[in-house]
Symmetry: C2
């Protein structure tokens, strides 16, 4: 199943990973409520726009129906760090206290569905234990992703960070996916990749080109990123694939 197919699935009301996980075990009335929510609260944002700014009041949850979202923090001097990237069918949790800790930034055109607190309360009343268990699992997966990245951000070389970045996003994009070709759509500029992995855009370019020149990846077609030698890439990234999958992917994939 392609990127487009996943988003189509979500849009058409047959959502993907996290949504299934969140609603799995809900009784019928709660499920109906969730589906209604999706229709009602969906909103579109153009690529490059900010869905929420750090410090803004915000709903506690957003379900991404379509597009890629970056959670950003920035320093006064203008440097930006992307803390996490959220893909379709996954959940944005910008805050617990009603105030967002991040800029929620649309990397592509994005459709999200806000889940206000009172809606969550109603859901909880309908079917409490599953709700909380799911939220805990989702937030644990996000924490694991971030920790794994932070390890490489603090201790890894540029090449390792880029290799890890490619592997992580490939795994996540193709998580609920059957076909095994190592091709995926990566809708980010080198600048944005740099903000994610903690490198200048120039050095992102150098590093990608080196991997490309060595035949490990292929970025000649800008719409498709191809991983030619997955094992070598995973090796550079010092990844144990199975462990990583268990850690960062929703459990129903």
């Amino acid at each position: 199943m392609s990127y487009e197919a996943i988003t189509a699935k979500v849009r058409s009301g047959g959502p993907g990973a996290s949504f299934d996980q969140m609603t799995h075990g809900l009784n019928a009335s709660a499920k109906t409520r969730v589906t209604a929510l999706l229709q009602r609260n969906a909103r579109r944002y153009p690529a490059g726009s900010n869905i929420i700014l750090e410090g803004d009041e915000s709903d506690p949850f957003f379900l991404v129906l379509d597009g890629w979202v970056a959670l950003n923090k920035s320093l006064e001097d203008g440097h930006v760090q992307t803390i996490d990237i959220i893909l379709p069918a996954d959940v944005i949790m910008p805050s617990a206290e009603g105030v967002s800790a991040f800029d929620v930034h649309a990397l592509t055109d994005v459709t999200v569905c806000a889940v206000p607190m009172q809606e969550l309360d109603k859901l909880e009343a309908a079917d409490p234990p599953h709700m909380w268990t799911s939220i805990r699992a989702l937030s644990a997966a996000a924490k694991a992703r971030i920790a794994e990245r932070m390890l490489r951000l603090g201790q890894g070389s540029a090449e390792m960070r880029i290799a890890y970045f490619l592997t992580e996003l490939y795994l996540r994009v193709s998580a609920c996916n059957d076909n095994q070709d190592m091709v995926f759509h990566l809708p980010m500029t080198q600048q944005q990749i740099g903000e994610f992995v903690g490198l200048s855009s120039v050095h992102v370019c150098r590093t990608l080109r080196r991997l490309s020149r060595n035949g490990l990846i292929d970025t000649s077609d800008h719409l498709k990123t191809v991983i030619n030698d997955f094992d070598s890439i995973a090796n550079i990234a010092q990844i144990d694939i199975n462990q990583l999958k268990a850690e960062i992917l929703p459990s129903d994939c």
Copy 2:
């Protein structure tokens, strides 16, 4: 209240920030259960030992009663990154799925109290909503701490990272504290600080000495770290103090 006083408070059954938060609102029976748990499940670990290893089965929660704990991840090549540091009266959440995502490492002699899943279930049965709200708040504070650090890890200079490190830990150590002197006990080697801020121990030393030579801090007494010029340090760290306090400190301080 000093570091020792806080740990004494915890040990004597009058716990600090997170514990209050977790148990705040619990009914009497649940509170009794928690207190009993503290007596029963408390365990001591010597400085330098690992309480849990990454990949081990682990209880979902540990309350730190005494000592400093580092949550570490490491690469095959031996490099270690500390993802978070947990102080007395705070909670370690190594996993959601029963398998720890970190090495839980004792920076000092440590006393922790394990909270097994079934214990949590019982607590939840006794008083569900507060339990979950608290857990969400705790894990949000941890996430905020980590994001703020990750921003500097990816985008900041060595000096900024060290300044941020000092400020964050000073704020946390003295959170529930009345006296305003900028002195605190920092039980970490420069090697361990380096693992936390993503620098070699040599460069940690260089950077600390520079701050020290410029009169911003004083580390001549190894048991006490003194921040002489808090504003300058916070400025180097590009911190907005009030915002940071709201974000990373438990709400009852």
